[in-house]
């Protein structure tokens, strides 16, 4: 009976944990899409940028060291020993908030009222800029990120059940759950949260009761900056901080399709479903057809679901009028 097979449960649990990570990235998309109707392709690069900044602060790198060397011949790459993790996290968050302000002012403000595809393209342009700036500031080499999270397999589970589960993934899941709950409370019980929901509901009505769109957008982009930072830390601690980190955005897209672009619970449940589905498929069917199915399986699964529910599992029903 497969239910008693520890391998089966190992696959399910590691799928669930991976799903939490996908959900984390997808969450950043949903927040921005709800509040401003922007399909933010830069979310993955945002996570990369946040992780690069964090590592830079932690290890005490001088920003733009390469460029300074090329321009003025300065041969310094570090200003000191670096700082402790908490301070570095805080400073990175400040940088992300500042970045959110810049994005809203420079990119989004002039593009108000444009079609979705134009805004989508603008965020791809933004992704290019951020990628270039991040690499130029902190260098493009692969960096190790250590924020003091436990590593290695969990001994407790290994001894008692024979399952091999990374401690890091468990703590990532815990952090993600805390983050999601905090966001839920923020959006349900605070004044700013109510304003956010109002904007998500109807831009014009929100404007007419005196909510400043620009402030809301800034807050939303800051929050997704925070989500990007958390996602960047988790993925960075797992596989190093490098360019491929920005590709997690591509992992989050099928999650969005499955859960619906506008639903926060959808992002979470979609993430879990895709995480488990992907791992099961790779484990049981992958070897038969050559493996490495993780790249496309999620998309195919989402596509199948969409054929039956074109707005995703939890998306708002699409009503079309002529």
């Amino acid at each position: 009976m497969f239910l008693f097979d520890p391998f089966f449960w190992e696959v399910v649990i590691s799928g669930l944990l991976a799903g939490v990570m996908y959900a984390l990235v997808a969450l950043g998309f949903v927040l921005i899409f709800k509040a401003s109707g922007i399909f933010n392709f830069a979310q993955g690069v945002l996570a990369l940028f946040a992780a690069l900044t964090l590592v830079g602060f932690q290890t005490g790198q001088i920003p733009f060291a390469h460029l300074l060397e090329a321009l003025f011949g300065l041969h310094a790459s570090h200003w000191g020993e670096g700082m402790n993790t908490v301070l570095a996290l805080f400073l990175s968050l400040v940088v992300m908030i500042g970045l959110a302000w810049l994005i809203v002012k420079i990119v989004l403000r002039p593009l108000v009222n444009q079609e979705g595809i134009i805004l989508f393209m603008a965020t791809i342009g933004l992704a290019f800029v951020l990628e270039g700036v991040g690499d130029l500031m902190w260098g493009a080499n692969v960096k190790r990120l250590d924020v003091g999270l436990p590593e290695g397999p969990s001994d407790f589970l290994l001894d008692n059940t024979g399952m091999f589960i990374e401690k890091l993934e468990i703590s990532a899941a815990v952090v993600a759950i805390i983050l999601v709950v905090t966001l839920m409370i923020f959006s349900q019980y605070t004044k700013m949260g109510r304003a956010l929901r109002a904007v998500a509901d109807d831009h014009q009505a929100a404007l007419s009761v005196g909510i400043s769109l620009e402030t809301i957008w800034w807050v939303v982009w800051s929050i997704s900056g925070l989500v990007a930072l958390v996602a960047g830390v988790m993925w960075g601690a797992k596989s190093g901080v490098q360019f491929s980190l920005s590709l997690i955005a591509l992992k989050a897209l099928p999650v969005l399709m499955l859960g619906g672009f506008t639903s926060i619970p959808g992002a979470i449940i979609g993430g879990l479903m895709i995480g488990v589905g992907e791992k099961m498929f790779e484990f049981y069917i992958g070897p038969m057809i050559g493996g490495a199915t993780e790249n496309w399986f999620a998309y195919m699964l989402a596509l199948l679901f969409l054929l039956f529910r074109p707005q995703g599992l939890f998306g708002e029903k699409i009503i079309e009028r002529v």
């Binding site: 342009g125 591509l250 399709m257 054929l307």
Partner: protein
Amino acid sequence: MIYREAGDFKTTYKADQDTFPIRFDRVAFWLSIFVVALIIPFFVNDYWEKAVFLPFFIYAIAAIGLNILTGYCGQVSLGTGGFMAVGAYSSYKLMTSFPSLDMFVVVILSGFVTAVVGIIFGMPSLRIKGFYLAVATLASQFFLVWLFNKWEWTYNYSATGQITAPERDFLGIVVTGAYSDPWATYIFCFGFLFIFGWMARNLVCGHIGRSWMAIRDMDIAAEIIGVNPLKAKLSAFAVSSFYIGVAGALYFAVWLGAAEPTEAFSIDKSFDVLFMIIIGGLGSMTGSLIGAAFIVLLPVTFKTLLVGFLGWPTDIAEFIQIILIGSLIIFFLIKEPHGIAALWRTLKQKLRLWPFPH
């Protein structure tokens, strides 16, 4: 002033439907075709051919293809890289299985193969719309690239998993492989661009093009006035994939000569082509050409400028190039969301009335 329509009278309906209604445009168009087709081939060298002209021609074909789907029919697609891979791999299979086949036939047949694949992946478009569809087309991108990595038959069981274009000719002139002359490949690719550009222009002006545009503008309304959405959407997917397949075949066989799916047909290709049509102008043939020129020439120019003239290290030049391209995209979107083609139209409108704007 040279640019005006006074005295440019039409006496037949045919003349009125001309692609270039103003005589100046017509003359300029044929003059530039003359220069590009009959003068440049005598001077083109290996560097210009490989770095500028071939990429421009090939991406222009792909951009026209994607513009048919996205610009004229309103279905956003991010699967361009995957479809280019289908074109490339089918041309490889055709070249190796039928060595005596003319290269022209090979490219056209690969286009048809891609069209069939495009129809299959276009089916969800009947049910899914907007961004959901855009993300759904990513499925084709990832799935196709994975397929060409894993399915050994497609690369003839070669140990490296790479495909290399053997030497094949077009009417006796070698156009692929290491010993092809720059002028031959130049003319070959330009010929495709000219023929298919001309065909696309006529397609979008005709019945089928109008049904695409009706679907783009509002699909429900189009359905009510009698446009068949199944036919319109799937034909757009088929024609667009045909073009992209042709571009993919040329990209692999004529330009690169060798390819490996993960690198050569990555998702970056899809984005590049999408950039081209957005920056150039959605729903505009000139726009596809301008966009292709923009995206192809920009990196080459920056590289020559920063590395060649200023002598900066290549990695820094590369980062700065990414930043500049990204900012230019944002800048153009802010200044003219309808693309450079729209800017060009405004300019022409102004020139017509110049120097008396009122």
